[in-house]
Symmetry: C3
Subunit: 126 residues, 3 copies
């Protein structure tokens, strides 16, 4: 299977995985890029370092880590699940000549909400 293995280093961080994804695609087609986890996301957006922190801070304001969650009786990561549900686990991107057909500022971003962990991103041709 076409997949990337990532080792995240913080509880929350966003990694630009565009070049790793491009190593897995063929000549031309449409790629489903998805993560099989429930506390991480894959999105398309700009990989500017300040913005990546802004995205995490905005989600933290929306779904604060230090609020009450039922799921935290089982596993202390309810906010990670909720944030991942808001951003989604997959994107679909056309590619040509071995390159993703991204807009000027679009990059494929892996969003960790419950690290550090070893994570997988799978790339499938539609």
């Amino acid at each position: 299977m076409n997949q990337i293995e990532l080792k995240t280093r913080k509880r929350e961080e966003i990694l630009d995985i565009t070049s790793e994804v491009e190593k897995l695609i063929g000549e031309s087609g449409i790629a489903l890029i998805y993560t099989p986890h429930t506390t991480a996301s894959v999105i398309l957006n700009e990989a500017e370092s300040g913005l990546l922190q802004d995205i995490l801070s905005a989600l933290e304001r929306i779904v604060p880590y230090n609020a009450q969650y039922r799921h935290n009786d089982i596993d202390n990561n309810a906010t990670a699940h909720i944030k991942a549900s808001l951003l989604g686990n997959a994107v679909v991107v056309p590619f040509e000549n071995g390159k993703l057909q991204l807009g000027t500022w679009q990059r494929v971003l892996f969003v960790e909400f419950d690290g550090p962990r070893t994570r997988r991103v799978v790339v499938k041709e539609l």
Copy 2:
């Protein structure tokens, strides 16, 4: 058409529809699993009952039912439309040997925001 009919019983609830979806898929391929409604969502996440309540509570804090909405002059369900826009109406999931290729904790979840209603989820092979 390959579709599931659901009867939801509350204004808001989340149902695990993974096994119903798996009855509709073939041997191997990639499935688009979507709901044609504007006040319900389909997402992938863990089906732990406390977490499902946490997801609904977090969305209620983000988009409170008892705030002012213009759409409520027409139909008293603006929050349901907004929550559905945040979570999205579809997921794309590969399947093999008649099973969705889900991660360990991933389940296909139908999210009702304006029930109780009869709802449809459609499964199409890409």
Copy 3:
């Protein structure tokens, strides 16, 4: 390439692009409808004018324009990137007999978060 060019007229607005998308599709299949921008979204929801304002107002409450963002030192549009990440940049919709197979209230909506600008929406058959 099958694409729509849009000229948005406000910083934030939502446009119903369903009929423009339907001009670009063939007889039957599944369409990926996406925008290659990082400060705009494509979603499916109802095109009622009050609701469209409610969606923008709710997102503004969630990610306020007048808060502090690191990315605003570079380009004064961090909220636009974050809102676009929450709604996503694409939808996947089956079509038959040259018509999108939408639910009763579903329309294809382009969501501008950083206009006025000239924008593109691309339609690809899966």
